[in-house]
């Protein structure tokens, strides 16, 4: 994960939000004029460039459509450290991957209800490009554009640059308290209940859903949140891992160290297909027995599995 994401963190210095920014006139070719703003330093320049690139790819009114959709203070961040401005710059490379590398096709994004929602997806691919692609899809395909927040592993805050990057683009350490708090603020939250077992699965286990954690179901019941199952087809083949080298993982302090035939988990240009299912509403007690929750979790799991199989059946090849 670090090598893949740190490329974009040269932009980590935040541009100071000035009043003029928010109220500027929006024209059709407006992204070209962004550079007319005074920029200082190399980082700012890179950041500005990335932002313009994002807007060029996503439609230059994206920032206008997003403006005001998120709470932020005079320093341009929300209480959790999410910065829309930073995110618009950071998303550029991912948007490029979305369009040109993984050539993502998105189905049923309009099924995601407004307000608080939990997106529950399969997880794979060694590096969390699946999360990034779902994020880009929600930002560029959903109407109105949605910024998602996902729950990351607890070791992410210990990684330099990655920790800052993740916080500024809205990713939060996956504690139940964080999730509850965000749902109460009506946020869209992406959860991979397979966790690390999913992302690190080996090639023979592709498209086999690993054991689901039940925390998301407790939170959904507690906060009365609809669940949208999401199936990601394609990512499971992007970095076929043949073995998990545990001693190496231990040495560098990573939870797992799966090895692809070419060593690093560099993703292949597989074609991504994202399927959003119909929202599921559950009722019941959040502190119920695990056995009861398990039944509900199985409904979600089955729904993802069905969409995965449907997607696999429909596609003609892995790479196109």
């Amino acid at each position: 994960m670090p090598h893949a994401l740190s490329a974009t963190t040269v932009t980590s210095r935040k541009r100071q939000a000035t009043k003029g920014d928010r109220s500027r006139v929006v024209g059709s070719r407006q992204w070209l004029t962004h550079t007319a703003r005074p920029v200082s330093g190399f980082r700012e320049l890179v950041k500005e460039g990335l932002r313009n690139w994002t807007l060029a790819m996503a439609g230059d009114d994206l920032d206008r459509r997003l403006a005001g959709s998120r709470p932020q203070n005079e320093y341009g961040v929300d209480p959790f450290g999410f910065s829309l401005d930073y995110a618009l710059s950071a998303i550029g490379p991912f948007l490029w991957l979305y369009k040109n590398y993984f050539r993502v096709e998105t189905f049923g994004v309009d099924k995601v209800p407004s307000g608080r929602v939990l997106l529950i997806s399969n997880h794979s691919g060694q590096l969390p490009f699946d999360a990034a692609m779902i994020g880009v899809a929600m930002l560029t395909q959903a109407q109105p554009p949605r910024t998602i927040r996902s729950m990351v592993e607890k070791w992410v805050p210990t990684l330099p640059w990655v920790s800052t990057f993740m916080a500024r683009v809205g990713q939060i350490v996956g504690t139940p308290e964080n999730c509850r708090r965000l749902l109460e603020r009506d946020e869209t939250i992406l959860v991979f209940p397979e966790g690390i077992k999913g992302i690190a699965k080996l090639y023979p286990q592709r498209y086999q859903l690993q054991e689901f954690g039940m925390g998301f179901m407790r939170l959904a019941l507690e906060t009365n949140t609809p669940i949208v199952p999401v199936a990601v087809v394609g990512a499971e083949e992007q970095a076929p891992a043949i073995m998990n080298i545990k001693p190496l993982a231990k040495l560098v302090g990573f939870p797992v160290m799966p090895m692809t035939p070419w060593g690093v988990p560099f993703p292949l240009p597989v074609k991504y297909r994202l399927y959003f299912g119909d929202p599921l509403f559950f009722t019941g007690r959040s502190d119920d027995d695990d056995a009861e929750l398990e039944k509900k979790v199985k409904v979600v799991k089955a729904s993802i599995q069905t969409m995965l199989e449907q997607g696999l059946k429909e596609r003609k090849a892995v790479f196109w």
């Binding site: 209480p79 450290g81 350490v173 708090r181």
Partner: protein
């Protein structure tokens, strides 16, 4: 109303005394002299652990105690530190119970939760006090918080309020966060930019006076004007931080600290690497709390503005 203020000669003590002395009869207890003392404030220059404290309570009918005579000095020996903070707090609580005080306000700190990569972004009052797990020498600060907490349950007839404010900063206060923010070339942990919460000294003073209001009791996190990335704080101040790789920073700082070339123990680095933010909504809801200073004013206050 007669109010005893321990630690009155400190920065925060003086702020509280000045906010309070027109409404109440303030009696300070502090082993340091009180410079710039208003005429109507009484000051007993004594160690709070000593008999003199009993005398103050016995001779006056004290209605309330604000206990902020807590020491945070990494240079002091652990034994002195522990003795002053723990025994001092026990003495104050003991007197409060013995002499029929109706209200005890205890100044703790949001640092008792401790910065950690596992932390939720906002810790509530129920979160475990984990600071000592990574920084053992602060365990006396946790202990005094727990003492007050225990006192709250043991003495339902006394209204006990424990306040855990976020990092206190102000124009003349010389605590770790303010001193750090005053550095022109401060260290940052390269690649880490945690969100931080700050509160102005005067806002903390106001919160303590708010806690005196009859009916208030319990444990509260007290937040200032919000959350901000650490780098934005330095940008606001115009200081230029130096990024130090985190794996070098700790050994470097512990050497510097050992040879007295730095005033921060290496464990303090966790505060600029990981989150230690609190949820102040209980206090906000119950008291209608609103800090008087904006984020910008709070940050700039360390410059003496």
């Amino acid at each position: 109303m007669k109010v005893v203020l321990t630690g009155i000669s400190g920065n925060l003590g003086r702020v509280v005394a000045k906010l309070l002395h027109r409404e109440a009869h303030v009696i300070g207890i502090d082993r340091r002299p009180f410079i710039g003392r208003p005429k109507d404030v009484d000051h007993v220059q004594a160690d709070v652990r000593k008999k003199k404290t009993d005398e103050v309570f016995r001779k006056n009918r004290i209605d309330a105690v604000i206990h902020m005579g807590i020491m945070h000095d990494p240079r002091m020996s652990a034994e002195d530190h522990h003795s002053f903070n723990v025994l001092g707090t026990m003495k104050v609580l003991e007197c409060a119970a013995k002499y029929g005080v109706k209200k005890v306000v205890m100044l703790s700190s949001a640092n008792v939760y401790g910065p950690s990569p596992d932390n939720s972004n906002f810790l509530t009052e129920e979160s475990p006090l984990m600071a000592a797990s990574r920084f053992p020498s602060v365990r006396d600060l946790i202990e005094v918080d727990m003492l007050a907490h225990g006192f709250f349950w043991r003495h339902p007839e006394i209204e006990t309020v424990v306040l855990r404010p976020v990092h206190i900063v102000g124009p003349s206060i010389k605590n770790a966060p303010s001193n750090y923010l005053r550095l022109k070339r401060p260290w940052l942990m390269a690649g880490f930019d945690p969100m931080v919460q700050l509160i102005h000294t005067e806002d903390v003073g106001r919160a303590m006076i708010e806690a005196l209001r009859p009916g208030r009791k319990g444990v509260y996190n007290v937040t200032g004007p919000g959350e901000v990335p650490l780098t934005s704080v330095f940008k606001e101040l115009g200081h230029k931080p130096i990024g130090v790789p985190h794996f070098l920073a700790k050994p470097m700082l512990s050497t510097l600290f050992k040879y007295r070339l730095a005033s921060y123990p290496p464990e303090e680095l966790d505060h600029i690497q990981f989150l230690c933010m609190v949820d102040g909504s209980r206090w906000t809801k119950e008291t209608g709390w609103k800090p008087r200073f904006t984020m910008r004013e709070t940050i700039r206050s360390v410059l003496g503005e």
